[in-house]
Symmetry: D3
Subunit: 187 residues, 6 copies
């Protein structure tokens, strides 16, 4: 990838700083986080999950996945979840995969990174699974923060039903239970 193309990729990725997370916007959260904010949160959580799990984790791969996992949103935006029911099955994943291919085109590791991104989408490696857990956990921490700081009453639907766990790792599950404890205490 030549310098010109690399800088274009940086400018594209930079757009995540001004891409709002749609879920909060639609529920009336003022000044909500950006996709870059969220991606930072995911990467940081993944870094800590890797310290907590007993499996071997390739940290370079783990953090690369975390940084790439929402990169396609710099082009397609953060499509609202209710919209999905009205697009052909798989249309979002295909669009994001195509965007990722274009964005990474020319990078030495393009193929590898694209494969890693699919492992995240499909949860087919320990690193992909940990980033999925971090993705979910960052969303719930953010929901908690908005509940406490803005009094928003429309965020309950983000929380998993009692007794259900959306996490692969027991580390993420334990952090989630601790979060629920704090959340209830201040309810």
């Amino acid at each position: 990838m030549d310098t010109h193309t690399t800088l274009q990729l940086l400018l594209d990725a930079h757009r995540l700083k001004r891409t709002p997370r749609t879920g909060w916007v639609m529920r009336g959260v003022p000044d909500g986080e950006s996709v870059a904010d969220h991606s930072y949160g995911v990467a940081f959580i993944a870094l800590l999950l890797a310290e907590m799990v007993t499996q071997a984790v390739d940290r370079a791969k783990l953090l690369t996945i975390a940084l790439l996992h929402d990169l396609p949103e710099s082009v397609v935006g953060d499509l609202p979840t209710p919209a999905m029911a009205h697009f052909p099955p798989g249309a979002k994943r295909s669009a994001e995969a195509a965007v990722l291919t274009e964005l990474l085109d020319g990078l030495p590791n393009a193929k590898r990174w694209h494969a890693w991104w699919r492992e995240f989408e499909e949860g087919t490696s320990v690193e992909g699974q940990l980033v999925r857990d971090a993705d979910r956990l960052d969303m719930l921490i953010q929901a908690h923060v908005y509940e406490k700081t803005t009094g928003n009453r429309w965020l309950a639907e983000f929380w998993p039903p009692d007794g259900e766990s959306p996490f692969s790792s027991s580390a993420a599950q334990a952090l989630y239970e601790e979060l629920q404890a704090i959340r209830q205490r201040l309810a």
Copy 2:
């Protein structure tokens, strides 16, 4: 449509007040307009265009189309233009049509309004064409306002190339030329 369902429709449409127009967001405009802001602008411009054209215009139909034309975005959001190249052809229109069907379900005029919305999408009636013109003109007035008030240099691509007219009606074309004159004068 019973009262409960009608109120749900109002609450859905209300979401347009907090749905940002993506084109401005991606180009770094702070505190950009909402889809409801834009829809008001479109309806108001359409009202004036109807005064300027020589054809017969059904104003009730015209304004209804203006109010409905972005209603599906209350569910699917304002999908960024660059995203479109990566979705199957027609996926956006199909999704919006399906959403509109769901939103209007049970209203006495649902079928008629849906047909009108298609006339807008396809430009197949004078009212549909005037709302298309108003849609384009409101976007350009907004681009002009952002250029003058925020100094944003990334909005040039919204403007049609010299000598090209994106408008059906000579009324909209005349207003556009006047806008260009003002825009140049203060450049």
Copy 3:
């Protein structure tokens, strides 16, 4: 009205997109809606009310009134309600009427539209009354949304006292009662 004057009117009306609704601002709602947001809501509600009532409604007139009803605020702003007690009786209405005359000056339908606006102000036609109902209902839906999304405790005064109805039409009254039911359920 020549093209130049018409574009000036569009630019004036466009200012409603950046005119905040004062009632929310004074009560600490962050990033509150614009007058254009509100006007869109009023027009959309009026469109649905017309479907619900049994009287004959001139929809072109109805929607024109909805689009015009706050147009003078593009010049005088949204004067806070508590300010009114300190201005001479009728000063606000006179100022707004004078502004409207200036804004519409030269339009073929200026006189008719001005008369319609008075029907809204005075509630002297079915269309004027329905827009009044829509105006009130949009404000209450917005108050509800702010109560649920920002936790604001200072919006109670917007709600009519128990047993009082601020609406002319039973359609608006029914929607209001449904709104109250939702509001209480999540209280």
Copy 4:
């Protein structure tokens, strides 16, 4: 004035922190200053002007006037200048005077402070004149800052025509000329 009434006055004055200055809002300045921001600027400038002038200045009176000069806007808001042409002559001043009377009612110095406020409105004392100068100068400094930080092209009308001075004191005039020099240098 009893404690309860005094606290109400503090809560009323506090509202100036969330009362936007309308002139900037109407010209598309995002996140513009509040009336409290402006009042702080005026008081601080007045404090320095008092150091620069040769006349005797009662600083307690000067700063009290600065803190009170926009207090009525906590109730009537910041009425846009173009609105004034459409209200009866003197209506704004009368409304603000009436509001001030109500706000200060019960304070030991109410009469004196009200008289001082009139000296500001009418420019009939050295302290009143210096606050007028500070009021104008703070507005121009703010216009300068918005021109440089937001690229807004619509603020030129705030600046006095070449060769005209809106200031009573030569101290304010000198600061203004210095400001113009900085403004031109970076144009």
Copy 5:
């Protein structure tokens, strides 16, 4: 101080309008007040406290202190309270004193104003103590307003423990108790 330097001081002080109060920002308050907003509140409260106390108060001195008390934050910003534990004891006060010296350098009253500012920091004069009381009271009024308007649950720590008074004057204490009464009533 020559005109050029004085204008620089005004431009520096002007920065307080865009310096956010860190305590609110860290607790997720959207669009929180500026240091200039706060300084206006402090000056206004101090003005009223002077009316309520029985001691002799030099109002010119009192209001000057209020206007100067956070002026150094235009350079060093509003350092978060938790940061203080990690800086050498007195580092913040020394930095702010040095900044104040630089900012006021050349003003006829520089030394006197600096001495007054120390009286505020150390609470060693009646005027310094009243501004301290006003500083605290404005923060608590603001916390109350944010609790009521944003539903923020993280502001409890700003309130003094039951039975403890952070105020020097009984006037401020009485206003605080009245504020607590209002706060509880709407809890």
Copy 6:
């Protein structure tokens, strides 16, 4: 580190999402980026720099440093550069080091991560140097974006003087030159 402490660390780090970057705030950029936004940018740039350089780079270490490099700002905030001249030499670094020790306390890799953070602060490893380059480059890309999107004229001082390079790696230098080319073209 037990689950409770780990969650506290996540909540602390989460605060970076609402910690504004002070340099932009002081220069009047509205809605500027957060420290988390910036940290995401730094990590992403570092990931690409590692692809461009010929040296061996430990990517897990590199990305961990990027995620940690501004973590102490979650407690001490983003201290403005002009403030530094007024604090004892080294006070900021000491405070941040102490905060980092507290934040990481109990983590298995605490010591290693702390050592890595020092390598960043002091530029004493290839990974530390690349994050320094990424830190600088992300700031300049952001300055470029704000110049183009807000018309801000006060950001010139962020750019290095002609002929001076603030970068260690030729990869970062090449990207910087490309950025300058784009910046000039649209000037």
